[in-house]
């Protein structure tokens, strides 16, 4: 009786080891920003199709989550919609992890309103005032006499940090702002609410919401590429040290013309033609 158990468990154990070894050979784990998710999803599908046998697992969770996983060595690639923070680098160093940045695409953050809203353009300053809760009615910026419902991403999202960097410049977002947990939730909320304003990564803007001009400039792939549009940012993939093996090949694929075609198809701004793409360390 006992013997059977022993044999069975030994067999199971061996199975685990062999399976583990097989997976470890050709698998990549990617984790991080929900903004970069469509880019990673699109490129890894194409990559896995072209390289059968390679297993790539992808999960969201947020830029901070990805970086945390990279530091804990539970992911091979961390995607991030912001640059890694000083504290995170310090923490990484204590654990012997050396994050290396790879810019894989550009994103533009676009303020959006409900299609019924008549406003077409806001200045950076007006946006800041609205988000600080100092402008509370659309008529103050030339719209209808309606209360403004300010919608923001959670204070720990990468998109929020970029918005803070471009628009708020460290000023506090009003506590009355609705803080929603994903880009998708923002789209739903604005599409169904004519009082609302929110901001989205360019990949998430669709017909159900109306993108606003900022300082008179329409956000588009072209204006973001030329840096004419003020709120554009790099999207990153971080690896521990210079990537090797499959991870290196995958990142190379993402940056290749073919990978960048997918980036553009997902609604992001490709690296190609952007002169400053290589400026990161």
């Amino acid at each position: 009786m006992f013997n059977i158990f022993k044999k069975a468990s030994l067999g199971l154990l061996m199975l685990c080891f062999t399976a583990g070894a097989a997976v470890a050979a050709e698998s990549i784990v990617i984790k991080g920003s929900t903004t970069v998710l469509p880019v990673a999803q699109g490129t890894l599908e194409a990559y896995m199709k072209a390289n059968p046998g390679v297993q790539i697992s992808l999960s969201g969770g947020g830029s901070g989550e990805g970086v945390k996983a990279l530091i804990d060595k539970t992911t091979d690639i961390a995607t991030s919609s912001r640059e890694i923070k000083k504290e995170e680098i310090a923490l990484a160093e204590t654990k012997g992890v050396k994050p290396v940045a790879h810019v894989v695409a550009f994103d533009a953050i676009i303020p959006v309103v409900n299609p019924k809203n008549k406003i077409t353009n806001l200045s950076t300053d007006q946006l800041s005032q609205i988000y600080q809760g100092k402008i509370t009615n659309w008529k103050e910026v030339g719209g209808e006499d309606l209360k403004i419902v300010v919608i923001s991403r959670d204070s720990s999202s990468g998109t929020f940090e970029s918005w803070d960097h471009f628009v708020m410049k460290k000023a506090k977002v009003t506590p009355k702002a609705q803080m929603l947990a994903s880009n998708g939730a923002l789209v739903t909320a604005v599409a169904k609410n004519r009082y609302a304003i929110a901001y989205l990564g360019i990949g998430y803007v669709n017909k159900s919401v109306k993108p606003l001009q900022v300082n008179g400039i329409t956000a588009s792939i072209q204006t973001a590429m030329s840096k004419e549009y003020p709120f554009s940012r790099e999207l990153y993939m971080y690896t521990n040290g210079e990537p090797t093996g499959e991870a290196a090949k995958y990142i190379k694929f993402v940056k290749s013309a073919e990978g960048q075609k997918i980036v553009a198809k997902e609604g992001f701004v490709p690296l190609v033609d952007v002169k400053k793409a290589g400026k990161k360390k």
Binding site: S155, S156, P175, A177, Q178, M179, A189
Partner: protein
Amino acid sequence: MNRQTKEIIIKYIFFLFALVSVIVLGLIVFSLFREGLPIFGKVSVKDFIFGMEWYPTYDPPSFGIFPLIVGSLIVTLLATVIAVPLGVMAAIYIAEIAPQAIKEILKSVIELLAGLPSVVLGFFGMVIVAPWLQDTFDLPTGLNIVNASVILALMAIPTISSISEDALYAVPREYKEASYALGATKFETIVQVILPAAMSGISTAVMLGMARAIGETMVVLMVAGGAAAIPESLFDSVRPMPASIAAEMGEAPFRSGHYQALFAIGIVLFFLTLFFNLFADYVSHKFRQIGSGTL
């Protein structure tokens, strides 16, 4: 191995199983406190609980969770106000009035409602209830206290109704028969005899329903709107405590002030649910029927 030793061994094995949940709870509470308490080196308990500003990611950060506590309490309270009459009356109908066939259907439907994943209810609140509320009452936002409370009430009803129902069944037959014998109508019997006799169980049901509502995360994350300000009306957005933890924990740097503050919110929630449970216990003892009606 003789029979006595077998008995003893079996006894200890079962004791061990019973102990597992206690140990697990103990470890969870321990880590909750270990991760959460250090925040009180950075802010005082008073500033944490009564502080009006929740800006955990700014520099310098402010960790005031009063708006979050108010958000949690108001949503729970309103949900209770909606769920208690519905749940208790449904229980009375099922236990005392309904014919057998309807009883079976109702019971299984209510159980089904209990089995609905909260994310599905949250989605329903976000995509259907919110736009409807907004259009009907011309509100600035449909993601608000009322919406969250209605959805939470839907989740609390099965708890309240099934526990109340058990309490009603436990009322001894003699009570009813005595009441009818004195010439009381069915309505009089239910209101004046059965309900008071089952009061202990019904109060427990209400308390457990409230505990369910205050700890519920997904629904409030999706439909309460997430504004960390003290609401001025029932149609304002709020940010209840579980929603804050769920939304921010993923991105809070490990063992940072923000991370510790989120654990400390967990401690506050833990005490609140503990309070509800103790209170439920107290109430059920206080209204306890001595004799055959005891639940």
